[in-house]
């Protein structure tokens, strides 16, 4: 039987090709993202092993805050170096620093972007424990000298002896470039930039005099790394809150931290690759269903000559197995190409990953082929069982093409699923968990897909009405063809439906978020201009800039707002830091209770919902621990609604702290009677000197902030584009099979006078109707999902929902175009139908 299956599989090359195509598409993205993640991971493994090659031990503070976006750790006092150097077994020790510093190129523009790879400032040391190797020139000495990594020097067109401007925590300064360095063996890790100084300069300029981020230690070889770390740890002052790690440990930790950060990205990709795979499943299932129906006579003949039901079913499953393995292997190979494309894409947007070729793990291929094969065989089970049930007599009959089964049970199951989903959605609208919301959405989607065949006929007939009116009998046949096989139409349209529903829901969500951002900023920001950076958490605008701006004659008032990681109660959020002394009338938190004016360093403001949730009222005590480990009990002084972040504290709290504090936004109110041009010129003079920050008017600023959502949306659109391709391929496959199946019909039509162009028209409109069916149901489902998500994630209820009309029209037009494109090849094939052989094949 296996051999027969194999023979029959190979004999039907066209069918084999079409089925494989669906599997290839589904698996290639999975393999692409897997290879890509593996490549990234092994790259960083290699990089940090190389960089920490000479580091045997690592001393750092025990105080840290982990916000979920990477850990922030308190600085260590440089004085401890003397203690460490005296420990037996230590041959060298040096301070290490990775703080924010932005190098300004010769043309006055900063090197590196707010959202690109980080821009670092660090320590260059002659110690063999240091991470940097001088390639050209010499090490910087004193407050006036610096060194750059080779890549940044090249980007900024800087040569040794040039004067370089750098912006960091304590403002902007000029340095003389005295050397160019390599990080380990490479010019720069991951496209990051490095400005390097001697230790005292680095501490004072980048962080706080007398402090470094950590201490790198090299042993003299007499002790093992573990013993060395133990010995050092024992020698450290007990109250210093320091810990010692071995070289292997810090390598491991750094690598895994980078992997965690990149993990968001790869997890995102993986999620979408599974969406693509799921959509691919529909296409695979559809192809097997159609081909199983088409070879009903073949199956019946097998049964008539003595094959058992099981044998017929197994033969189709064996075919699925063969096609599954074949398609997955090709899909895996295609994925290699895709992962290259992903790398190229990342390079193009500036996130260079210093890859040395692709890393292809053996489990990437195992995973892809296994998943691909399993889903193919699973998709084939139902059609195979159906094939087995074909009575032997069907061999003598004409193939029954239009099997109209009872839809009652289907509708019942679908409605139950939708109802169950709706219960989940309703619960989440009333404040249930986000997981319930997800399950609810899933339930409704599944229900709609189950009910699809019941919907496809009436909807296709309705959508086909104008076509029929416009195109006469040809259009009417398109309409009938789209509606004649409701299950097939529903399955073919399913990828379009899912893709469109997701796009619509995300678009609706994004539109609502944008609206909210606009309203929120609109009510909180009362000034004329905003200077902003887009790098919450790492670096930003030095706090001294606000003072510089206030001193300008053109500026009436300026206030900075920053964000900083801190422990608040049992959470580790980013906390909003503002200056209550200058914010008045310029930055308004929309207080619900209490006042923001005159907030002291012993007080905290809490977002109204958060306060409710955490049971905080005016007068409650909240414990706040900053990154440097300093813990304070703050009193709740009020609640607010409109701001980023759930907690707001005064800048005063950071006076004397070793925690680096930057501003993310500086809001500016110009003096009366100052023209736009004069105001911009004056403010730009300060901001350009910094090489950081974007200066925008109030309206521009609000637009930009709202537009940030578009970037996220663009990413989702880009990934969903893949499902569009799968949808197109799915329609092409179905149409080809339908055209093949209706060979005699098309032959007859041609015989009685249908021209080739009419045949094309007929196939094209069938395709368009099918695609539009998916799009229309998808849009409806997407909008409903969007409403539910917005309402359940948002407190302002339905009013927060914004119907994305433009996008909806765009999607419907897109679906129309998809239908037309998908029909091109099948329609051409249809016109090539040979009349004689079509009629003769009785």
């Amino acid at each position: 039987m296996f051999r027969l299956s194999l023979k029959m599989t190979i004999a039907r090359k066209g069918r084999l090709f079409l089925t494989s195509l669906a599997i290839i598409l589904g698996t290639s993205f999975l393999s692409g993202t897997t290879i890509f993640s593996d490549t990234i991971n092994s790259t960083f493994d290699r990089l940090f092993t190389d960089v920490f090659r000479d580091v045997d031990a690592y001393v750092r503070s025990t105080d840290s805050v982990d916000t979920g976006f990477g850990e922030q750790r308190a600085p260590s006092p440089v004085a401890v170096l003397d203690t460490i150097l005296k420990v037996k077994g230590v041959s060298a020790a040096v301070g290490d620093m990775q703080s924010y510093a932005r190098v300004i190129a010769k043309d006055g523009k900063p090197i590196g972007q707010d959202q690109g790879p980080p821009t670092f400032g660090g320590i260059a040391s002659e110690s063999s424990a240091g991470l940097w190797n001088v390639e050209d020139g010499r090490l910087p000495v004193g407050a006036k000298e610096m060194m750059l990594d080779r890549e940044t020097a090249e980007k900024g067109k800087y040569e040794i002896g040039d004067s370089v401007r750098v912006t960091a925590l304590s403002g902007t300064r000029q340095f003389t470039l005295v050397g160019i360095a390599n990080y380990g063996d490479i010019s720069s890790p991951g496209g990051a930039t490095f400005a390097l100084f001697d230790q005292p300069t680095a501490s004072e300029f980048l962080l706080k005099p007398g402090f470094v981020d950590a201490i790198l230690i090299q042993g003299d070889g007499t002790l093992s790394d573990e013993e060395l770390a133990k010995t050092i740890n024992a020698a450290l002052p007990v109250d210093a809150k320091l810990e010692t790690l071995t070289g292997a440990e810090i390598t491991e930790e750094t690598t895994s931290q980078i992997k965690t950060v990149l993990g968001f990205f790869t997890a995102f990709l993986t999620a979408f690759s599974f969406i693509a795979l799921g959509i691919g499943c529909f296409v695979i299932y559809n192809v097997f269903s159609i081909t199983a129906a088409q070879r009903q006579r073949e199956s019946a003949l097998l049964r008539a000559i003595g094959a058992s039901r099981r044998q017929v079913t197994v033969s189709l499953l064996v075919e699925a197995l063969i096609v599954g393995v074949l398609g997955s292997v090709i899909g895996f190979v295609a994925g290699i190409g895709l992962s290259r494309a992903l790398s190229a894409l990342l390079n193009a947007i500036g996130l260079e990953i210093p890859t040395k070729g692709l890393t292809i793990n053996s489990n990437a291929i195992t995973q892809t082929v296994l998943i691909g094969t399993v889903i193919t065989v699973l998709s084939a089970i139902l059609p195979a069982l159906r094939s087995g049930r074909v009575p032997p007599l069907a061999a003598m009959r004409d193939t029954a093409l239009d099997t109209v089964q009872k839809l009652t049970r289907r509708i019942a199951i679908g409605l139950v699923l939708i109802a169950a989903g709706a219960v989940g959605l309703f619960a989440s609208m009333n404040g249930a968990d986000v997981a319930i919301l997800g399950l609810g959405v899933l339930g409704v989607f599944a229900g709609v897909l189950v009910i699809g065949p019941a919907l496809s006929k009436p909807v296709a007939m309705l959508l086909g009405k104008p076509v029929s009116a416009l195109r006469g009998v040809t259009g009417s046949m398109s309409q009938q063809n789209a509606a004649r096989n409701p299950k097939r139409t529903a399955r073919t349209a399913a990828p379009v439906l899912i893709g469109v529903a997701l796009v619509t829901a995300f678009t609706a969500l994004a539109a609502s978020i944008k609206n909210e951002i606009r309203e929120s900023i609109g009510s909180s920001f009362r000034g004329d201009y905003a200077l902003s950076v887009n790098s919450r958490g790492f670096g930003g605008i030095p706090t001294s800039v606000t003072d510089q701006l206030t001193q300008l004659a053109e500026v009436d008032q300026a206030t900075g707002v920053g964000f900083i990681a801190a422990k608040v109660g049992d959470e580790s959020p980013f906390v909003l830091v503002f200056n209550p002394k200058t914010a008045d009338g310029l930055y308004d938190l929309s207080m619900v209770e209490g006042t923001q004016k005159g907030l002291t360093k012993n007080e905290i403001l809490v977002e109204a919902d958060k306060a409710l949730n955490k049971n905080l009222t005016i007068g409650s005590k909240v414990s706040v621990t900053l990154v440097d480990g300093r813990s304070t009990q703050l009193t709740v002084a009020g609640t607010y609604t409109d701001a980023y972040g759930n907690y707001a504290i005064s800048r005063e709290l950071f006076e004397g702290s070793a925690t680096p504090l930057f501003d993310s936004f500086v809001y500016i109110k110009t003096a009366e009677g100052v023209s736009d041009e004069n105001a911009r010129t004056a403010i730009s003079a300060v901001s350009q000197d910094l090489g950081i920050g974007t200066l925008e008017s109030r309206d521009e600023y609000i637009d930009t902030q709202a537009a940030q959502v578009d970037q996220f949306l663009a990413l989702i659109y880009g990934l969903l584009f893949l499902s569009v391709i799968i949808a197109i391929v799915g329609i092409i496959i179905t149409l080809l099979l339908s055209v093949f199946e209706r060979r005699r019909e098309i032959g007859l039509l041609r015989a009685v006078g249908m021209t080739r162009s009419q045949v094309r028209t007929m196939v094209r409109w069938e395709s368009v109707i099918t695609s539009l069916f998916g799009a229309v149901t998808g849009v409806v489902l997407g909008i409903l999902t969007g409403i539910v998500i917005v309402v359940s994630l948002n407190d302002s209820g339905f009013s927060a929902f914004t119907l994305p009309i433009g996008n909806t029209i765009f999607i419907l037009v897109g679906a129309f175009i998809i239908g037309v494109i998908a029909a091109v090849f099948p329609a051409w094939r249809a016109t090539r139908t040979e009349i004689i052989s079509a009629i003769a094949s009785a």
């Binding site: 063809n481 007859l748 015989a751 006078g753 021209t755 009629i839 009785a842």
Partner: protein, 254 residues
């Protein structure tokens, strides 16, 4: 061969609905060459019911397909009325089939998604023409299917389906109707009905029909039979009876 050529030339050209001149159809080449039609010349008179007979592989279907413009000749020419089909493009031939030719096939004559009436008027709708309403009604009356017009093919019996096919072939009032074994799939009662309808279409409605068949009884409904054997015209017969036909076929086989 010469004899038959002379016979055809006796027929008045103006009264010819379709004809073939030195028509050859060759499949394959070299060793595997098959001459389905070998230099066949034949014509079919307007207003008559003609039959083409011959054993399997005699080339009778090929001849019909080529004259009807469904297939192209290797050499020679075919005419529908005065139109030389070899000079037409695919689009023009399609238009000609739609307007001047009617077809009745052995099976699968109807589009399953269209009802009986839509199937009957299909060639007209494809040409975006309304056709002659009175004529169509007359045709429908003739095949007595008035009460079945809104039924889909799957709701009609085999005989009813073939009657709809006959009506479809007549609907455009074509120059000529080709029928390829129209009763091949029917029981003898339904088959007889179809043949009677076709006979009436010629006698009462003045239509022209050419029917391919291998059945002597069916052929006996025709005014004239052309016999084909191995791609050649092997003879012809006017006013046939089943006995005469069987007798002729017996001799043809020898």
């Amino acid at each position: 061969m010469n004899q038959t050529t002379q016979v055809t030339q006796k027929i008045d050209l103006a009264n010819v609905a379709a004809r073939a001149e030195s028509a050859s159809k060759i499949y394959g080449s070299g060793e595997s060459e098959v001459r389905a039609l070998d230099n066949v010349s034949v014509s079919f008179e307007r207003g008559k019911f003609s039959a083409i007979m011959g054993p399997s592989g005699s080339g009778k279907s090929t001849l019909m397909h080529c004259i009807a413009g469904l297939d192209a000749l290797t050499s020679g020419s075919v005419y529908i009325g005065e139109t030389d089909l070899s000079k037409l493009s695919d689009k023009e031939i399609t238009k000609l089939r739609r307007e001047k030719v009617g077809f009745i096939f052995q099976s699968f004559n109807l589009i399953p998604t269209l009802n009986a009436y839509e199937n009957i008027t299909l060639p007209l709708s494809l040409g975006k023409s309304k056709g002659d309403k009175a004529w169509i009604q007359q045709v429908i009356d003739t095949i007595s299917l008035n009460d079945r017009l809104d039924h889909r093919p799957s709701e009609l019996s085999g005989g009813q389906q073939q009657r709809v096919a006959v009506a479809r072939a007549l609907a455009t009032r074509p120059e000529i109707i080709f029928a390829d074994e129209p009763t091949g799939n029917l029981d003898s009662k339904s088959g007889g009905d179809i043949l009677k309808f076709m006979r009436r279409a010629v006698t009462d409605l003045k239509q022209t029909i050419v029917m391919v068949t291998h059945d002597a009884v069916s052929a006996s409904y025709a005014d004239r039979i052309v016999f084909l054997s191995d791609g050649h015209v092997a003879g012809e017969m006017t006013d046939p009876t089943p006995e005469k036909v069987l007798d002729f076929l017996k001799h043809l086989g020898e």
